[in-house]
């Protein structure tokens, strides 16, 4: 099953612990927090797309999907042609100027191998970042409401219960 990092922007306080945690782990932050004038903020990393354009365009197969569904880079195969960077609709793969190969979020492959969460998710003090399968994450977020739906049964109340949130 493919797992991703989801962001609950309602919870994000733009503290950038995720950026710093990623930077401590990889030398450079691969997640970025965008702040908007109305005080909302969104942390944004690679989406590890189901049909990932970067993987599709990579001429050397340096990019591939691992068992958890993360798009990972094999540095030995990367030739720094920048195709993935262009193909990514979010501009995620970045050139590492020193090594002249690409650098991108791999959902902390080495941490996952040890059974740990990605660094950014581990740190996030508000749990705005959630790692998991979309269905599990949705259930954790909306499940309480769904359970209430089942409990109440009365459609008008259900609607009210939903709207007051």
């Amino acid at each position: 099953m493919s797992k991703k990092i989801f962001i609950d922007f309602k919870r994000c306080i733009a503290c950038k612990a995720c950026e710093v945690a990623c930077e401590m782990e990889h030398g450079e932050a691969r997640i970025r927090v965008f702040e908007f004038p109305d005080l909302t903020s969104v942390a944004f990393n690679c989406r590890h797309c189901e049909k990932a354009p970067c993987v599709e365009v990579c001429p050397t197969n340096a990019l591939s999907k691992d068992d958890d569904g993360a798009v990972v880079l094999d540095p030995l195969k990367c030739i720094g042609c920048l195709m993935c960077g262009l193909a990514c609709p979010f501009g995620i793969p970045k050139i590492d100027e020193y090594n002249k190969i690409m650098d991108k979020c791999d959902l902390c492959a080495h941490r996952r191998a040890e059974g740990k969460l990605p660094a950014c998710v581990s740190a996030c003090p508000t749990e705005a970042l959630k790692y998991g399968d979309i269905n599990d994450v949705l259930w954790a977020r909306e499940g309480k409401i769904v359970a209430e739906f089942k409990d109440i049964g009365d459609r008008t109340n259900v609607l009210e219960a939903y709207l007051i949130r």
């Binding site: 919870r11 306080i13 503290c15 401590m24 581990s122 740190a123 996030c124 003090p125 508000t126």
Partner: protein
């Protein structure tokens, strides 16, 4: 490669987060999050926590004792040996004591050092015959300590973190936890709001990341929130929204208080504070009728010349509504640093003994004298800010500074710099050459927090042990070792017979009855620590005031409070209210955080926030350079034009040069300086 995981307490704020340092042969390699233990942060960390070991190996770390060769303040030193340094310091201190008496000496402890280190420091001062002792709590929490102390007999946070989930209303007054305590905010407050539907009331002139979640946001002018608090008391009393049974049983003084606040109507408060009367009324009713409430305060309340009064009024709101001693409530002020509370408990204060017993409490003095084996001087010492005046007047000759940075954290810095030039002998022990150390005659290299075993008390009153996770660089030593070396050289060795921190903690266990149960054995076995009071090894106290208050008769004292302005208010010449705030990724005077790569990259510089309407009026655009000028000094800063600050107020982050602008007017009860507001004028810098 021998890799080990060492459990530590976070060295920054006072939430008391835990994590591990991965240590490879004495060298800190990285941090790891702690999910195993039943710890307060649930493994979560803010950016400072994640970057916590970056400053450890910064090339600026002090590695050997230094002796000044250049002018004071110039920062020119030569390296000397520990032996020479300690000998010279001991000699000079003895000389000064001989010539001018012990009161010419003063000592500053530190909220960034352990309880053991603060304990030995105050013991040394007292062994030398002076109570001239203080630490930065004076500029952070002292008003809260004084105000709540008078009313309730104890200033601490009343309830465990979990209780906030059950609070129906949360009031954050002059407190922006999303920036100052993100983990506490994210793991407790935000969950109460988003998952448990708690109502949030925020009182802050700025619309902060915290205020983003507020149902009611009151934006008073800085330091006029006392007016808002008095008006809320007025509403609660006149509309009879208070808990009559609770007040009858557990408080005294309602009549006087009612009479006093009669005149402080919401309409009056609107004129003073600029907060609409209707909004004040709504906040008061929401708060008083909630059933359970948390009211948390911080520097926005504390750091004013009227701070103690505001704390008193707010505490009275909690008493009147009968919220104390229950589940689902919380009341407290949040110290800045991880051991802000612990240092205070150790008696690093001019008028309090270890355990915070007043110096004049004879039975406690006797008891402690018995443990120590020498007489404690009876005359109270002078406070932090008062030391500056004493230096200028030549009354104070020598200052011994452990792990703190007065040349940046005190108000009215130009005056402070004068004072430090005037000093006869200054010793600074720290991990970097701070602004203060530049004036020192002798600088001693200290081990950083991760480089020693140490105990701290978080703002939840939780006593926790942190373990040595890295070797100190060069010849740097733990602060307690340095103090003990000095004590021995001063001929006081018999009172300082410790071979490790556990010895000191055991003496603390004997000296302070409510810490008797916080033994080294308990803290090592149990990383979650224990909440003080813990009179024996199997007891702790999660909730305060369940039976009664800690005043002599067990009742809360509703002492009436009259309105008083903050230390400086705008006039024609200086028409703006100036205030300050904190960045989530910077800490205090920046000694450590400015030297952390990941933090200084993201929070690199200060700027001044100006309301968009004010900016338009003055022709200031975002990014323009502006001069911010008070009666004491001026700073040139970039403007940040924003709708998130109220008109008439400008704000500057505190971690850089803010204190050149502030005034040193003091709160009469706590001697807290007016750090949070000043009158200023602003003008665009052309070119």
């Amino acid at each position: 490669m021998a890799e080990k995981l060492v459990p530590v307490v976070c060295p920054w704020c006072s939430v008391g987060c835990r994590f591990y340092i991965v240590n490879v042969n004495g060298y800190p390699k990285k941090i790891e999050f702690d999910y195993e233990n039943d710890i307060r942060n649930h493994g979560k960390l803010c950016p400072k926590g994640v970057a916590a070991f970056q400053y450890l190996r910064h090339p600026d770390r002090l590695k050997r004792p230094l002796k000044r060769v250049g002018e004071r303040g110039e920062g020119k030193f030569v390296e000397i040996s520990w032996d020479e340094a300690i000998k010279e310091i001991a000699q000079k201190l003895s000389e000064i004591k001989e010539k001018y008496g012990p009161e010419a000496l003063a000592f500053l402890g530190s909220e960034r050092c352990s309880i053991e280190e603060n304990y030995v420091l105050q013991k040394l001062a007292r062994a030398l015959g002076t109570n001239n002792l203080d630490y930065v709590c004076r500029m952070c929490q002292s008003t809260a300590v004084a105000g709540k102390g008078m009313l309730l007999g104890h200033p601490g946070l009343t309830n465990p973190f979990e209780d906030i989930f059950k609070a129906k209303v949360i009031v954050l007054w002059g407190y922006n936890p999303a920036a100052t305590n993100p983990v506490f905010f994210g793991q407790y407050i935000e969950k109460a709001i988003l998952d448990n539907n708690a109502t949030l009331i925020v009182v802050d002139p700025r619309k902060t990341k915290t205020a983003k979640y507020a149902d009611i946001h009151l934006q008073p002018y800085p330091g006029t929130d006392l007016a808002v608090a008095l008006a809320m008391l007025n509403v609660i009393i006149t509309e009879e929204l208070y808990d009559k049974d609770f007040v009858a049983e557990r408080a005294e003084g309602l009549e006087e208080l009612s009479k006093t606040v009669e005149k402080y109507t919401p309409e009056w408060a609107e004129k003073v504070s600029g907060v609409p009367a209707e909004l004040i009324r709504k906040a008061a009713i929401t708060f008083a009728t909630a059933g359970t409430a948390a009211l948390l305060t911080n520097e926005g309340v504390n750091q004013h010349a009227n701070g103690t009064r505001t704390v008193m009024a707010l505490t009275e709101m909690m008493v009147l509504c009968g919220y104390f001693g229950k589940e689902g409530v919380m009341s407290g002020a949040i110290p800045g640093a991880h051991n802000g509370m612990g240092a205070g408990l150790m008696g690093v204060e001019p008028d309090a003994l270890p355990g915070k017993f007043p110096l004049h409490a004879e039975e406690h003095r006797r008891r402690i004298e018995e443990v120590w084996g020498f007489k404690i001087p009876e005359k109270p010492g002078i406070t932090y800010v008062e030391m500056v005046d004493a230096l200028l007047k030549g009354k104070l000759k020598a200052l011994y500074v452990m792990g703190t940075n007065p040349a940046k954290s005190l108000p009215n810095l130009k005056k402070v710099e004068e004072a430090f030039k005037n000093i006869e002998f200054l010793v600074v022990q720290d991990i970097f050459l701070t602004e203060t150390a530049r004036y020192a005659d002798m600088v001693l290299p200290a081990a950083a927090w991760f480089e020693k075993d140490a105990t701290a008390v978080s703002f939840e009153r939780r006593v926790q042990r942190s373990f040595k996770a890295a070797d100190a660089p060069g010849e740097a030593k733990p602060d307690w070792e340095i103090i003990v070396m000095l004590a021995k050289e001063l001929g006081l060795g018999e009172y300082f017979n410790y071979s490790d921190v556990d010895d000191i903690l055991r003496e603390i266990n004997r000296t302070i009855p409510f810490l008797t149960g916080a033994t080294p054995e308990r803290l090592k076995k149990n990383l979650k620590g224990c909440m003080t009071p813990c009179p024996d090894e199997s007891t702790e106290t999660p909730r305060l005031f369940v039976q009664g208050f800690l005043t002599p008769n067990g009742k809360a004292q509703l002492i009436p409070v009259e309105y008083e302005e903050p230390g400086e208010v705008p006039d024609e010449e200086y028409p703006f209210w100036l205030t300050n705030y904190r960045f989530v990724g910077q800490f205090h005077t920046g000694t450590m955080s400015h030297r952390s790569k990941s933090l200084s990259k993201r929070w690199p510089e200060e700027y001044v926030e100006i309301n968009e309407n004010d900016a338009k009026r003055l022709g200031i655009k975002d990014g323009n350079l502006v001069k911010v000028e008070t009666r004491r000094a001026a700073l040139v800063l970039k403007a940040k034009v924003t709708p998130h600050i109220r008109e008439g107020v400008v704000a500057v982050p505190w971690h850089w040069d803010f204190n050149y602008l502030t005034t040193d007017v003091l709160d009469e009860y706590a001697k807290m300086p007016e750090l949070k507001t000043a009158a200023c004028r602003i003008s665009k810098v052309e070119g």
